[in-house]
């Protein structure tokens, strides 16, 4: 009997079914009755099969081929999970840690974002008073601090200890070999010298003193190329104790800068800038502004925002200091000054005389110490001390130059046989007449030299041992900020390539271990690193708590990033020096300055900084001798869009050939030479010199003519044009534009009264009289639209009616506060994975920065030839990034809908939809869309571009260095070649915030689903020291951005095009001395 009967089936249709034969069962089991999976393999040769084959083949061809995606090999990716999740860690959510970055001996407080264990973004620590902006809601950070992130992921960073028995021939060595060799050497040697870069780190100082105590006869020297020693000497003389001055610009109505770059290169620049900016923004509320006088020998960022600027030579600046002292009743009158100069000093004194306790007079750190002493006397006279200027203690020491000279002498006289150099790069940046490299050569034969450095640089190559230094983001440390707080430097990641800190190296050389340093068991020590142990030891001493790791004060310091400063130092009355002027040593003054991006040269291998245009000259990837237009005429120097003349300078018998750059606003008779370029070993990978590395031989090594006694100011005879040309990359068209272009630019940039269209500016006086003085509304033809434009009415709460659900994003850029410092540009680059493109591409105008700061010169001279000759043009900065037009011209022309609007007013860019027609860029009136002409992430900035024969989409996967790729922000797409990109208003940050706030609202923790001010902070707003950039929700009537948009100075750039930008600019106001126009003109010449 079969199964069928057992189930009792009673309905059937065929006998076969009823019989339930095996064949029938098989047929039933077969899911697709007529389908034979083996049909193809049978090769029966029947027509049916062949036809089917062709059908299937055709169909698969069609399916595979029709969208060209069938045969595309997608990159294979592996997702590896964390084996155990650290407590409290949510994968993919960035965490922020306070840390600090030491530069030139002063800490910059930071807040570092870490994404799954790797630091990806550096910001200022909002808790720290030195960098707090928006009342402590945000923290600003300098360009250098932000860009130091890239250094950490620099594949060309030193990765190992190198032993060089023979000059320039190194081999990697193990840490134990090194420790053995060096501790043996230190034990037997009685002549140890330690050369350290300037540091205020208590831990390093503690380690140094322990080392000196343990090794009798060891001496410590400190050297820093960019040193503020003239101030140090002047203040020590004046007050009888080593102090530094802390300026409080928020209390200063009048600021007089004698060549001091208070807002630029000063260690306290962020606080200065913010305080200064608060006194500019007050124009909107109290109708008052501070007034800044800048007398300077080059165009600095501080000079660009001066209300009254006087360019002249350093010698005259120093004499004008004396003239001001004379006005203050401190000195006899200067007979060497001309009428313009006396008039300018007169003007300053008119303000200062009535500003007791509300003024600051500052001097540049290159002025002679006795002149700075006179400035101290003037400040005392103005009752600045205690009011606008307070004091912090400095360690008592000899000047850096003296220390360097002493070290070189003792090496050369055989008094040193072991030299340990902690950081720095003295072979490159020590005064050329001391010949530090030669001294190292002398030492090589009879002693041992060790260099601890992040890069295997020039000094490393001259030492027997190079020890790789752990990057500050990888190691423990501490240092003192300018305002006296001590910042804790907390590592974000285990060192990528191991390495020591200065303190841990000294400790290791002394044979110490974690266990011996902290006096704990080996087991307990396993949890800690040596640098951490050394730090704990110091802080255990400071806090008087051996278990410092659990000390609540230490934990708070770790969390906050700093320990509060004690009370300021009080000083005695000023001892005024007498000043004498030695004879000038030559026709031209040569001024050495720290470069805005390279600083002293240590950042030479940092692509972000190399590509960052100088704030004033806009030169990228180079330095150049800045000369005035008149001097250029005399020398016959000419420059066009990309090339300029090379000139030969002779300073103190040393010759240098350098590109000349004609800089408007540069006083005649001064040649400014930025330091930090022309590095020969900027980024070599371990043992090999790598001429292709980013920083190799870029620009001109101006240290080569910098000697003791003339570290800042030197003299030279008239330079000579060599006749050769040099190509130079700038991110803005040079100022030499034909008269037609100048006239047109004048119309666009000029003041409102002169028909200014793009840059609106006015004076405080005019603004107070008429708040609409800075600008008038443009004439817009709204009815002439090709496509319907978004509703121009306002929603019921006053925000825009279109693209406002639930937020209406908007930005305000305050040109009155912008100092052009570029912090926003680097912040944007870091946040949004913006590639560097290299000098050749910058020359091609292909830099990728989403945010650029347009710099316009302005002067009153009516004729254009004379305009160039005018040595004192004013500068206006206009930061421009995508303004997110509601009626966006780019969106209408994209053939593939790759750029579209979202409901909240973002002009979004869909990278993987973009095919790169570049039409949007053509139609963008702000020209702020950037196109990936090449695969810039994969392309080395110093090398050419090569054909890539693989699948274009995978080029980055194979070509981007694996270490370098760690720097990418995972929230932002890394764009490939061939796509357009632009500012997104940091959409990733918007989404983080809006989703979180909305979830909180759903959970009942908030009363509204939308965000508040400072919930969403764009990277540029975050970084800006002057609060010039504000972002937020225009729907919210109380939001800062809304209030700024409704303020009297707000206007839309190119409003006449009816693009309806969501970014409004705020007109610039200047606060010149109110006097008849003719007189102003007089004083310029």
């Amino acid at each position: 009997m079969n199964d069928q009967n057992q189930t009792g089936r009673s309905y059937w249709q065929s006998l076969n079914e009823l019989a339930n034969t095996p064949a029938v069962r098989a047929a039933i089991e077969n899911e697709f009755a007529s389908y034979d999976p083996n049909e193809m393999l049978k090769g029966s040769g029947t027509n049916q099969s062949r036809r089917k084959f062709l059908q299937l083949a055709g169909a698969s061809m069609a399916l595979a081929g029709i969208t060209l995606t069938g045969c595309r090999r997608w990159p294979k990716e592996n997702v590896v999970e964390q084996t155990s999740r650290p407590q409290g860690r949510i994968p993919g959510v960035p965490e922020q840690y306070a840390s600090a970055f030491e530069l030139g001996g002063y800490a910059q407080p930071l807040l570092v974002s870490s994404y799954d264990g790797r630091p990806i973004k550096i910001e200022g620590n909002p808790l720290h008073p030195q960098v707090a902006t928006f009342g402590g809601k945000l923290g600003a950070s300098s360009v250098l601090a932000q860009a130091s992130l890239l250094e950490m992921y620099d594949p060309e960073r030193s990765r190992a200890i190198v032993h060089r028995n023979v000059v320039d021939q190194g081999q990697a060595a193990s840490a134990t070999d090194f420790a053995a060799a060096i501790s043996q050497q230190t034990k037997k040697s009685g002549k140890i010298a330690i050369l350290t870069e300037a540091t205020s780190s208590p831990t390093t100082r503690d380690a140094l003193s322990r080392f000196v105590a343990a090794n009798k006869g060891a001496k410590v020297y400190e050297y820093e190329a960019i040193s503020r020693d003239n101030h140090y000497v002047a203040d020590k003389q004046a007050f009888g104790q080593p102090v530094r001055q802390v300026y409080d610009l928020s209390k200063a109505d009048f600021i007089v800068s004698f060549d001091a770059d208070l807002l630029g290169t000063h260690p306290y620049a962020i606080r200065h800038s913010n305080d200064w900016a608060q006194k500019r923004k007050s124009a909107d509320t109290t109708k008052t502004m501070n007034r800044m006088y800048v007398l300077e020998s080059m165009y600095s960022t501080t000079g660009t925002v001066a209300d009254e600027r006087f360019p002249t030579t350093i010698r005259f600046i120093e004499q004008m200091v004396l003239q001001l002292a004379h006005k203050a009743g401190l000195e006899s009158a200067q007979d060497k000054l001309n009428s313009d100069q006396t008039a300018f000093v007169e003007k300053i004194w008119n303000d200062l005389a009535k500003a007791e306790g509300k003024a600051i007079v500052a001097g540049g750190h290159h002025l002679r110490a006795d002149v700075l002493g006179i400035i101290n006397a003037i400040n005392e006279k103005l009752r600045s001390f205690g009011n606008t200027i307070t004091f912090r203690a400095e360690p008592d020491r000899a000047t850096h130059i003296e220390q360097m000279r002493a070290l070189v002498d003792s090496i050369n006289t055989g008094n040193v046989d072991t030299l340990i150099i902690l950081g720095g790069n003295p072979v490159y940046d020590a005064p050329t007449d001391l010949n530090f490299g030669g001294a190292l050569g002398n030492l090589r034969g009879r002693g041992v030299s060790v260099h601890l450095s992040v890069y295997d640089n020039e000094t490393s190559a001259a030492c027997q041992w190079h020890v790789n230094r752990a990057h500050y983001l990888e190691s423990w440390g501490d240092s003192e900020a300018w305002d006296g707080t001590i910042c804790i430097q907390q590592p974000l990641i285990r060192p990528l390539f191991d390495g020591f800190t200065p303190a841990s190296l000294l400790s290791a050389i002394s044979g110490e271990t974690v266990a011996s340093v902290l006096k704990v068991t080996e087991d307990a020590a396993r949890e800690l690193t040596l640098d951490q142990a050394v730090l704990y030891r110091t802080w255990a001493g400071k806090l008087n708590d051996p278990f410092v790791a659990n000390n609540p004060n230490f934990r708070k310091a770790l969390h906050d990033g700093f320990v509060g400063a004690g009370a300021p130092v009080t000083v005695k009355a000023v001892r005024k020096p007498t000043v004498s002027f030695p004879a000038a040593g030559g026709e031209f003054e040569v001024r050495f300055v720290a470069d805005y991006t390279m600083y002293d040269g240590r950042f030479a291998n940092n692509g972000w900084l190399q590509e960052l245009p100088d704030p004033v000259t806009k030169i990228a990837w180079d330095n150049a001798a800045l000369i005035s237009y008149n001097d250029a005429q005399d020398l016959g120097v000419t420059q066009d869009d990309n090339t300029t003349d090379l000139i030969e300078l002779v300073v103190g018998g040393k010759k240098i050939t350098i590109a000349a750059y004609i800089m408007p606003g540069q006083p005649s008779g001064v040649i400014t030479l930025p330091l930090g370029y022309g590095r020969k070993r900027a980024g070599a990978i371990v043992l090999t010199e790598n001429p292709g590395s980013i920083g190799y031989n870029i620009g001109f090594d101006t240290y080569s003519i910098r000697a003791t006694g003339a570290e800042w100011v030197a003299y030279c005879p008239m330079p000579v044009k060599t006749g050769d040309r040099y190509s130079i990359a700038t991110t803005q068209t040079h100022h030499i534009i034909e008269p037609v272009g100048m006239a047109i630019r004048e119309e666009r940039v000029g003041e409102e009264s002169k028909g200014g269209k793009i840059v609106h500016e006015s004076t405080l006086q005019a603004f107070v009289k008429n708040p609409h003085a800075p600008h008038k509304k443009a004439h817009v033809l709204k009815e002439l639209q090709l496509f319907p434009s978004p509703s121009s009415s306002h929603s019921k709460n006053g925000g825009p009616a279109a693209f406002s659900d639930p937020h209406a994003w908007g930005m305000a850029m305050d040109m009155n506060a912008c100092i052009g410092c570029n912090a926003c540009v680097v912040a944007c680059q870091s946040e949004n994975n913006i590639p560097i493109v290299g000098k050749d591409q910058v020359i091609r105008n292909r830099e990728m920065h989403w945010l650029r700061i347009d710099r316009y010169f302005k002067s009153g001279a009516p004729d254009y030839a004379g305009k160039i000759a005018d040595e004192n043009p004013q500068v206006t900065y206009q930061p421009i990034t995508c303004v997110h037009c509601e009626n966006a011209p780019c969106e209408q022309v994209c053939p593939v809908a790759a750029t579209v609007h979202d409901s909240e007013g973002l002009n979004t860019m869909i990278y993987n939809r973009c095919i790169g027609t570049r039409y949007c860029a053509n139609n963008c009136p702000y020209k702020i869309r950037k196109f990936n002409y090449l695969d810039y992430h994969s392309k080395h900035p110093r090398e050419g571009h090569y054909p890539w024969l693989g699948i274009p989409d995978t080029q980055q996967k194979y070509e981007v260095d694996k270490v370098h790729a760690l720097v990418f922000n995972p929230d932002v797409t890394v764009r490939m070649r061939g796509v357009m990109e632009k500012c997104t208003y940091c959409v990733q940050r918007i989404k983080h915030a809006t989703i979180d706030r909305r979830n909180e609202w759903i959970d009942g923790k908030r009363d509204k689903p939308t965000v508040d001010d400072f919930d969403v902070i764009t990277a540029c707003q975050q970084a800006c020291p002057t609060e010039a950039i504000v972002f937020g929700d225009l729907n919210d009537p109380n939001s800062l951005v809304r209030r700024q948009h409704e303020g009297p100075r707000a206007y839309q750039v190119l409003q006449e095009l009816n693009n309806r930008p969501r970014t409004h600019h705020l007109a610039k106001l200047r606060n010149p001395v109110d006097e008849p126009k003719a007189a102003v003109k007089e004083e310029v010449h």
Binding site: T67, I737, V740, R855, V896, N922, N923, F931, L934, M980
Partner: protein, 494 residues
């Protein structure tokens, strides 16, 4: 097709200047005492006789240039658009200049074929075939540029409305998308028009070809043409319809190309005059290119009797007319910029004409397109092939500069002075431009070698022999008509 004269050598003829207008008389369009047979022979000889050495040399040079093109495209595709000099702010440069340049050249062919056909301009018959070929090849050269200029070429097919799994559709407001349709429609219709018009001649080649390969290939290409009345009837209808279809395209394609500029917001692009201005410019440039091709071709291929001085004269006159339209447009643009009172528009023309970094290109354009063609007022110069060749070349160069002026000078300085920047080409884009001539001439020389370069059937239809009336003795017609046209001395004088 009946052969009227069996022995052309029996005809005694003298030089006729058919470029002279004689009131009341039609100028002959075929000279040299050609009859139907000799027309066929002179045209098919080009294809069926062994190629002259010159052809091989020419083809070799063209092919080498084509290889330059291929190399440059290879570098472009594997490296990125960065191998060109395009930058920020000049995002379009040689790519779109050359696209518009070639599309413009591709205009004259269809204009000659379609519009002149509809207007019964019989003189078109001698030149329409290779003018159309020129169109097709120019459109090939043109069409490649927008496809290759995009950043991600492998995704350029997204410009086409293909249903896809991304559920994305092209953006219909973008003029670039209109371009895709305009150019592809134009290319399709032009190709069809060219091919359909060629069928009777291909059949002739099939019949006359001695080589087996030729017989088969021409046989397939001629689609079974037998010359029956029914075939002729269908052919004439189809040809007329295609002409009617192609005619609006002549106007539309360059108008749409001009929309790329006209609908944008950029000063110098955002002008309503662009469509007519572009069409006129295209016809101007297209005729110049036809002249550049026809003058040597008639010399080298012995086609002087078919492409007569009258043809050259007519084309020169069209160039003169369209050149003046273009010049008028240049002036109008400047006038409107001034009249509009729009600062940005005015500035742009100041840059273009007075002192911008590329002002020289504007004056090069003015010289080539507005001044030099004025020489064509002089009849003597119109009738001198050398001069004509020179002027046509200058016009072509001028039209290239026109596109350069429109694209580069508008882009390099627009609204914000902070974004102004210069552009200069790299050797790769220059190579690609030169190489595109290689592509063009490679195709054109292949065409000359293997396809009938003169529309034999159509030429015959405008010969007097085709219009003999019943009862008229065949033999006297030609001589009579020729002597009829012979002008007396009085006529020659003016």
């Amino acid at each position: 097709m009946a052969t009227i004269y069996s022995d052309p050598s029996s005809v005694i003829y003298r030089e006729i200047d058919n470029a002279i207008e004689i009131p009341g008389k039609r100028a002959p369009l075929v000279l040299g005492g050609r009859d139907f047979t000799s027309v066929t022979e002179v045209v098919t000889d080009v294809n069926l006789r062994p190629a002259p050495v010159g052809w091989y040399i020419g083809f070799g040079v063209a092919f080498c240039l084509f290889l330059v093109y291929v190399t440059c495209v290879f570098l472009l595709l594997t490296t990125g658009v960065g191998v060109w000099g395009n930058n920020q702010p000049v995002s379009w440069a040689f790519d779109i200049i050359n696209f518009v340049f070639w599309v413009g050249i591709g205009h004259a062919g269809t204009l000659i074929s379609a519009i002149l056909y509809l207007f019964r301009q019989n003189w078109r018959t001698s030149i329409n075939r290779f003018a159309e070929a020129m169109t097709i090849f120019a459109v090939v050269c043109a069409g490649l540029y927008p496809a290759l200029h995009v950043g991600r070429v492998w995704l350029a097919y997204w410009l086409f409305p293909i249903p896809n799994q991304m559920a994305m559709w092209p953006q219909a407001r973008s003029p670039l998308w209109w371009d895709v349709f305009a150019v592809s429609t134009y290319a399709t219709v032009s190709l069809l028009f060219w091919y359909v018009g060629m069928i009777p001649d291909l059949a002739t080649l099939r019949d006359r070809s001695k080589a087996r390969l030729g017989q088969v290939a021409y046989g397939i290409a001629s689609l079974g043409w037998t010359g029956s009345c029914r075939h002729w009837h269908r052919f004439e209808r189809a040809y007329l319809l295609l002409a009617a279809l192609a005619t609006p395209l002549v106007l539309s394609v360059h108008s749409v190309v001009s929309f790329d500029f006209a609908t944008s917001q950029l000063p110098g692009w955002h002008t309503t005059i662009l469509p007519p201005y572009f069409v006129a410019g295209a016809i101007f440039g297209g005729f110049a290119m036809v002249l550049v091709l026809a003058i040597p071709a008639r010399e080298w291929f012995g086609l002087k009797d078919l492409i007569t001085m009258r043809h050259l004269d007519n084309m020169a006159k069209i160039m003169l007319a369209t050149g003046m339209i273009v010049s008028y447009a240049y002036c109008t643009e400047i006038f409107i910029a001034w009249y509009s009172g729009v600062h940005y528009e005015q500035s742009l023309f100041k840059f273009r004409a007075l002192g911008g970094p590329y002002a020289w290109s504007f004056w090069a354009m003015m010289f080539c397109n507005a001044i030099v063609p004025q020489l064509l007022w002089i009849r003597k110069l119109r009738l001198n092939p050398w001069v004509l060749f020179l002027i046509a070349n200058i016009a072509n160069i001028g039209m290239w500069w026109e596109r350069f002026v429109i694209i580069v000078t508008s882009l390099n300085r627009d609204f914000l002075p902070g974004s102004w920047g210069l552009y200069w080409p790299t050797y790769i884009e220059v190579g690609m431009f030169v190489g595109s001539f290689g592509l063009f001439f490679t195709l054109f020389l292949l065409f000359c070698r293997f396809l009938p370069i003169v529309a034999m059937a159509e030429v015959k239809s405008v010969m007097p022999q085709a219009h003999v009336h019943h009862g008229e003795p065949h033999k006297q017609t030609h001589d009579q008509r020729r002597s009829d046209y012979s002008p007396d001395e009085g006529h020659r004088k003016h």
